[in-house]
């Protein structure tokens, strides 16, 4: 597959105005060297969970990120087949979450202390 077809999908509530929130998530992915695609979602107040799931499903790397209007970020993987995210965090830790998305793709250990664990 060509380079443009390999990416982590990031879906965010189109109402989000704080570009900084997205910038940090993207920076995390870029530092890890994993491409991403940013896309706004225009539905009425979508949840981070819903955005994360849809992102994961439409992501060629199976890893998706959803960001809601309150700055909650969900990291999701297509194979999980459940609305529970693999990792969840607030915009304050966007960089770490973006890095973790990249590391999930690369099979590297995650920074778990920074993010919150998935409840099981």
């Amino acid at each position: 597959m060509a380079k443009r077809d390999v990416y982590v999908m990031i879906l965010f509530d189109a109402h989000v105005e704080e570009r900084e929130w997205l910038r940090e998530v993207c920076a995390g992915l870029e530092e890890e060297g994993v491409p991403y695609r940013l896309q706004p979602w225009h539905e009425r107040e979508p949840s981070a969970a819903r955005l994360g799931c849809i992102a994961a499903e439409s992501s060629p790397l199976q890893v998706g990120i959803g960001l809601d209007r309150y700055g909650v970020i969900h990291l999701h993987h297509e194979k999980l087949k459940s609305p529970e995210p693999y990792l969840r965090d607030g915009w304050q830790n966007g960089r770490a979450l973006g890095k973790n998305a990249g590391r999930l793709v690369k099979g590297l250990p995650l920074y778990v202390h920074a993010g919150k664990k998935r409840e099981e």
Partner: protein, 621 residues
């Protein structure tokens, strides 16, 4: 007369029980149980554990505890051990002359030389004629940094590389028009010397740097004369194996591997005394030990590290035994080389060095442990007759001899937590035994230290279980390279990590170690302690001292349950033609319950023929 009797073995770690029906000299075993020893061995707190173990064994046997007519407690050997570990080398960087670490995501690749200049100082100066290396503290955003460097380069500045505090190496690099090597995650960036000549090298993934780890590479880059090259050479040596590095040319910048004043160890033997410097390492120390005859005592040179070590040991043991420190004499010790990861002092990015050290297990004789107090209390609480009897070594041999395929002459190796005990039974039924320092707990200590865990519990888990590496949400690679496929996703804290595979779940390891590295530390710790001690024990306990004169070695005790230690010894002792394996007590119990089983057999023999039970000689006491 048929009666139900119990054999009880109170060890430092475990309390084991066997129940049997004895009729004359015939014995039918009914049940057994193991619990953790409650309290310190030989104190009345042990009673709690013994009662529990008896209850559980009775339950398994389908009888009530009251049906037991006689309990026999083992007469524990009065030796006690302790562990110590110390460094003998230390790496120190003077004058912040280098950074050598492996950030996951450095920027770019290649080699650059220039003068270190703070990123915000660059435009305030005139156009520098010299090439520069930008120094970027965490206050500066990557966009700003990249824009600034691009603008400066546009204006004729020659910026050749960068040293960055945050994890921004790739982000900055992606925004630069001129490509350059960038070392990031330099935690202590404020200690990077400014306005000095520096070289930055980043290797491609999977490679290591070549120029900064070569003294003549540094000489070329910094145009050094031979004397300066000699001075900077230890820096090159310290950087061997790194993926990225910075070297800063400082008048006195050096990396020193300091030998710590570790002092000498004095071995006092029956035939002679010897002094060995700890620096010579474990092999030389143990070799000297072999040449002094029977050990009388060991002392460490006062005022040195090893002196401190032995002092602390004596204090610990004095406290445990209630003797005065001066009375304590060391009856055996085991020295083992250890590799200890330590942060390099003076490092700027948390670099580690593998220092060398020595681990010591020591053992002292104590007053006889008053097991009779335990017996009295037990009798009072349960209302069952309790007697103390049977020397531990003899009981263990009797129990181990119930293993199929064995006969005297043989040696049992009781591999416990604090000591490795060996007993030889000759063809004539005579028993010799020795108690050596160093066993399962020393293995745990070595794993703990060499992996830099500072967590004994975690080290114990590593010791007892195989490893895996979580490769993806649903796959794990095992030690033998096979893949395990899971239905549920592995939890995030285990993702991409080396994990301990316990039955109840996975425990992830932090740290940079690969699966292979952790495995090697684990296995080598086991080899260093148990292979060494097995050979030491056999040489002492065999009358001729010659391993070829022996056919059977039977392993018992907690460490014989280990999933690889018995195999290591099967393999190692197999080389001498010895049949070595873990016991299968009574053909069913594996390496457990040997002493408890032996106690019951002794009861039966006395109740039956009242025959001789063998003369005992305990060489170590």
């Amino acid at each position: 007369m048929r009666r139900i009797v119990a054999g009880v073995d109170v060890g430092n770690s475990s309390t084991e029980v066997a129940l049997a029906e004895v009729a004359g000299s015939s014995v039918t075993f009914l049940g057994q149980h193991l619990v953790r020893t409650t309290g310190i061995k030989g104190t009345v707190e042990n009673v709690k554990g013994v009662s529990l173990a008896l209850r559980e064994a009775a339950k398994k046997a389908g009888i009530s505890v009251e049906a037991i007519r006689l309990i026999r407690l083992n007469d524990a050997v009065p030796v006690i051990g302790d562990l110590a570990m110390d460094l003998i080398s230390e790496t120190v960087i003077t004058e912040s002359s280098m950074i050598g670490h492996n950030p996951d995501t450095p920027g770019g690749a290649g080699l650059a030389v220039g003068v270190t200049v703070p990123i915000d100082a660059l435009s305030e100066k005139l156009l520098p004629k010299e090439p520069c290396i930008a120094v970027v503290p965490k206050e500066f955003d990557y966009e700003w940094v990249a824009a600034r460097i691009n603008a400066l380069v546009e204006n004729g500045h020659s910026i050749e590389g960068a040293i960055v505090q945050k994890d921004d190496g790739v982000l900055i690099h992606n925004r630069l028009r001129k490509k350059m090597p960038i070392v990031d995650e330099v935690a202590l960036i404020d200690r990077v010397p400014l306005y000095k000549r520096a070289a930055v090298e980043v290797a491609l993934p999977g490679y290591t740097i070549r120029q900064l780890s070569n003294p003549y590479g540094l000489a070329t880059l910094f145009r050094l004369d031979p004397d300066q090259t000699i001075q900077i050479a230890p820096v090159a040596k310290a950087l061997v194996g790194n993926r990225s590095a910075v070297v800063i040319q400082m008048p006195k910048g050096e990396v020193v591997e300091r030998k710590i004043e570790a002092g000498r160890i004095m071995l006092i033997g029956s035939q002679r005394r010897m002094e060995v410097p700890i620096h010579d390492g474990a092999e030389v120390i143990m070799e000297a030990y072999g040449r002094i005859g029977t050990l009388v005592d060991v002392q460490g040179e006062t005022g040195t590290n090893v002196g401190g070590m032995f002092h602390a040991l004596r204090e610990n043991l004095a406290e445990l035994t209630g003797q005065s420190a001066a009375e304590i004499t060391i009856s055996d010790f085991l020295a083992v080389d250890a590799v200890i990861p330590r942060s390099i002092s003076g490092a700027l990015a948390g670099e580690m060095a593998m220092e060398s050290g020595v681990a010591l297990a020591s053992m002292v004789k104590t007053e006889k442990i008053s097991i009779s107090r335990v017996a009295d209390q037990l009798q009072a609480e349960l209302g069952i007759a309790v007697e103390v009897g049977g020397v531990e070594a003899e009981m263990a041999v009797r129990g181990a001899l119930t293993t199929p395929g064995t006969r005297p002459p043989l040696v049992i190796l009781d591999m416990g937590g604090g000591s490795t005990d060996a007993a030889m039974m000759t063809r004539a039924g005579e028993i010799h035994s020795v108690h050596l320092a160093g066993a399962g707990d020393m293995v745990t200590m070595l794993i703990d230290t060499e992996l830099g865990l500072a967590d004994r519990e975690l080290a114990e888990k590593i010791k007892r279980n195989p490893l895996g590496k979580v490769m993806s949400l649903f796959h794990m690679q095992l030690e033998d390279g096979t893949m395990l496929f899971s239905e549920a996703p592995f939890p995030p804290e285990t993702y991409g990590r080396v994990v301990i595979r316990e039955e109840q779940g996975l425990t992830p390891l932090a740290g940079p170690h690969t699966l292979e590295a952790v495995r090697e530390v684990r296995r080598s710790a086991k080899r260093r302690v148990f292979v060494t001690n097995a050979l030491r024990a056999l040489k002492r306990v065999i009358p001729t001292g010659n391993l070829k004169h022996l056919s059977f070695v039977i392993m018992v005790g907690g460490s014989a349950l280990d999933f690889e230690i018995p195999q290591m010894l099967t393999d190692e002792l197999g080389k001498y033609g010895i049949v070595a394996g873990f016991a299968n007590v009574r053909g069913t119990e594996g390496p457990r319950n040997a002493v408890a089983t032996g106690l019951i057999q002794a009861i039966a023999e006395q109740g039956g023929s009242r025959g001789e039970t063998g003369r005992i000689r305990d060489d170590s006491l």
